[in-house]
Every structure is written in C-alpha cells, then in structure tokens.
C-alpha cells in the first residue's frame, strides 16, 4: 500500500498538470473575485472566508477525475483489483495521495491568498487549521464520486453534479470556522463537527468507493 501511495505521488508530480494546476486554479479564482465584487477591502474581508473555502473546494474538484480514470484506461486498476491488497485499501490510499497532491498544497497556499482578499488577522490560523481538517473529507468524498463515474466517457461534468451536493456540510462548517475565527468568536463547535464529518467520511467512504469500483470493473 505504501508503494501504491508513492507511485501515485510520483505519477501526479511527474506527469505534470494535476499537481500545480489545482493551485493555479485556486490562485485565479481568488484573483478574479475582486474583479467581480469590487475592490473595497471591507467587503472583501467579509466574504474572504467563504471565497477561500469555495476556491479550495473547486480546485479540489478539478483534479478528482484523475484519481481513478488514468488507471482505469491503461488497465492498472484491474491489476490493483486482483492484487492481494483489498480494494478498500486501494481507494483509501488513492484518496490519501490525492489529498497530499491537492489538499495539502491548497492548505499551505491559502494564507497567501488570504492576504489578497484582506482576510482579518486572527483568521489565518483558523483558515489553515480548517482546511487541514476539512480537505481530507473533500478528497475521500471525491474519490467516491470518481469511483462512481470511472467507466463513463464524459464523466467530468456528471462527477461535479454528484460530488458538489456531498460537499455541502464540509463547506458550511469550514467556512463557518474561518468566519468565526475572523470575528474572534469561539470556533470549537464548527471545527469539531467538521472533524467529525472528515473522520466519518475517511472511515466509511472507502468501502462505498470500493463497491462502486467493483461494479464498474465487472
């Protein structure tokens, strides 16, 4: 499983595209927002938590179809399915690799983009914490969506339609954490609820993803 993890990391970094593309997308979304809503710093500060979370979420969504699609096309997914490691493990490892190549860079880059949106001072710490806690859930949910649509020709658009409603709770709690952090309120409740969603998703969704993969490989 560790080898599979390293292999996925290498593929993501060397094949180009996926790794930096998510970050670039995040940057562009953040840069475009002030053009849409105007440059007043007060208004930007008010919407910054939501925009940053939304941008991270969309950037995450962008690279989801790479989780299984490439392996499905060249047949290595069939090999993985017949390999001695359980398919649930494969799904979990691939989601983890996806998180390391998208969720983690997004988390680290988010404070820099927060400066662009004039995010208030106390919110930076909570932005990083909430993204670090929340993006694993995004990756696992996305892996499930990718497993559902892996056999489809034009699965990309369908994938977003399936996955985005599933992202709603994570987005609500994530953005709420940052917003409360920006206003200096107590952030424990939304942060704990989001951690609960992440843990639940990490524990259960690999099974659903593996089931969907089995059906698609049948």
């Amino acid at each position: 499983m560790i080898r599979l993890f390293l292999r996925d990391l290498k593929l993501a970094i060397r094949s180009g595209g996926g790794f930096g593309l998510g970050l670039a997308f995040f940057l562009i979304v953040t840069v475009l927002v002030p053009f849409g809503v105007g440059p007043e710093s007060g208004r930007l500060a008010a919407i910054a938590p939501g925009i940053l979370w939304l941008g991270a979420l969309l950037a995450c969504l962008l690279s989801l179809d790479r989780i299984f699609a490439l392996d499905y096309e060249d047949g290595s997914l069939d090999l993985l399915a017949t390999a001695p490691i359980p398919l649930e493990g494969v799904a979990a490892v691939k989601a983890a690799a996806h998180w390391v190549t998208t969720g983690l860079p997004l988390t680290l880059a988010a404070p820099a983009l927060g400066v662009l949106l004039n995010l208030p001072g106390p919110a930076y710490g909570w932005l990083v914490v909430s993204l670090a806690v929340g993006t694993p859930a995004l990756s696992v949910i996305g892996a499930f969506g990718a497993a559902l649509t892996v056999g489809l020709k034009r699965g990309g658009l369908l994938l977003s339609l399936l996955v985005l409603p599933l992202y709603v709770p994570t987005l609500i709690f994530g953005a709420e954490t940052v917003r409360r952090g920006a206003e200096g309120l107590d952030v424990t409740t939304p942060l704990l609820l989001m951690a609960g969603i992440t843990l639940g998703a990490v524990a259960l969704l690999p099974f659903a993803a593996a089931q969907a993969l089995r059906i698609n490989l049948r």
């Binding site: 559902l148 369908l158 339609l161 409603p165 709603v168 709690f173 609820l193 659903a208 969907a212």
Partner: protein
C-alpha cells in the same frame, strides 16, 4: 404472498394491471375533493387571508419530496441485498416524480413566501435543505441516464442513494447550524397538543392522501413502462440475432 414474488416482472405486471386504474381514479378523486374543499369551502386565515390555501399543494408535495427519497433508499437497499429487479426499477421510476414534487414544493413555497415574508427566496434552513435535496435528485437521475448497462446503473445509483441519504441528513443539520430561519416549525404532527384547526386539517389530509396515491400510480405506470421497454429491447435483440 411476499414482496419477493414480485421480483418476477410477469407477476408484477399481472398483479398491478387491475390495481392501477383504481389507484389513478382514487388519487384523482382525493385530489379533486381535497383541493376543491380546501380552495373554496374553508375559511380564510385571519392574518394570511386566502394565500393560506396554497398549503393544500405545498405541504403534501413537500412531504412527498422527502418520503420519495426515503422510498428510493429502501428500494435501493432491497436491490443491493436481494437483487430484486422490480425494486431497482421502482427506484428509478420514483426519482423524476421526486424531482417534480421538490420543484412544486419550492415553487409554491416561493409564491407563498412573496406575500407573507416579502421575499421569493430566503436562505432559510428548510428552503436550503430542499434545494440541496433537489440537487441530490438531479445527480441521481443524471447517473441513471449516463450509464448504458441497466444492472451497473442500478448498482451504482443504489450506492449513490445510500451515501447521498447520509449526506442529505448531514446537510439538513449543517444548514440548521448555519442559519436560523423564517420558516415556521412543523404544524402537523401526531404527538403535539397544538395542531392546525380541524377545518384546515381534514381537507389537507385528503390532499395528502391524494398526493400519496398519485405517487403510487405514477410509479406503477413508470415501472410498467420500463418493464415493457426492456421486453421490447430483448425482442429486438433476439430478432437481430435470428
């Protein structure tokens, strides 16, 4: 007699054929009686005036929107566990009806909200969770349409329905946490002291019964159509082979 017998499509077809016209007639009867009673023979609300009468469409459709998803969850489970083919078809048949019900609830709610709250739409927890439910329905139907192999499609949509149910409930409470809203609490319940007055309550019950029967009739029709379509497909394939 058990529901497992009806996994046989032929058995299902012969049993439902005589039931179906009754369902259609009964639902039409209930809807006509309930709506006419509700619209013309109930007093106006002392504050809301006659706008309150939209309740006879709004409440039943909203109830059905949620209950149809629950029914799809049960039929999906039955399909996944026991490979009950008609069950998968029923889930597929129910989904578009669910979309329609959700839309009706949202639209009538907007029409009702405009004079009462002064706005067509508010990001109120109930409204928002209904919108999210609508998105879940859309994704579910889109997945059915996207996959060619019927068994694969049934399997994948069932898995989606299970996961989606968990997340729909999560979203429901997440949204509650996110914003406290305008919508009143439940005014119909079996265990509360205070309820809607009987003058409104009884026609509303008739309307709800009408919507339930309408749903059953529509699902039966759609399932039967789907079975026929598959038979036709099988016949075509056989002719091409022969």
């Amino acid at each position: 007699m058990s529901i497992w017998e009806y996994a046989n499509p032929k058995k299902f077809m012969t049993t439902t054929a005589p039931v179906l016209p009754w369902m259609v007639a009964l639902s039409a009867l209930c809807l006509v009686v309930g709506l006419v009673w509700g619209f013309f023979f109930t007093p106006d609300d002392y504050r809301q005036g006659s706008t309150v009468k939209i309740i006879y469409i709004h409440v039943p459709s909203a109830m059905m929107a949620i209950n149809i998803w629950a029914m799809m969850l049960v039929t999906s489970l039955i399909w996944l566990i026991r490979r009950h083919h008609v069950s998968a078809l029923a889930a597929r048949a129910a989904a578009p009806v669910g979309i329609a019900m959700t839309l009706i609830a949202l639209v009538t709610g907007a029409i009702w909200g405009q004079p009462m709250w002064g706005t067509w739409w508010a990001w109120d927890p109930r409204l928002t969770s209904f919108l999210i439910l609508f998105l879940f329905y859309l994704g579910y139907v889109a997945l059915w349409e996207a996959i060619d192999n019927p068994d694969t499609a049934a399997d994948l949509t069932s898995v989606l329905c299970l996961v989606g149910s968990v997340f729909a409930i999560l979203s429901r409470y997440a949204v509650l946490f996110w914003n406290q809203g305008l919508h009143q609490g439940a005014s119909l319940s079996l265990d509360k002291e205070e309820n809607v007055a009987d003058v409104f309550w009884i026609p509303l019950l008739v309307c709800i019964a009408g919507f339930v029967l309408l749903f059953i009739a529509l699902v039966l029709i759609r399932t039967r159509t789907e079975i026929r379509a598959r038979r036709l497909h099988a016949i075509r394939m056989r002719q091409r082979m022969g």
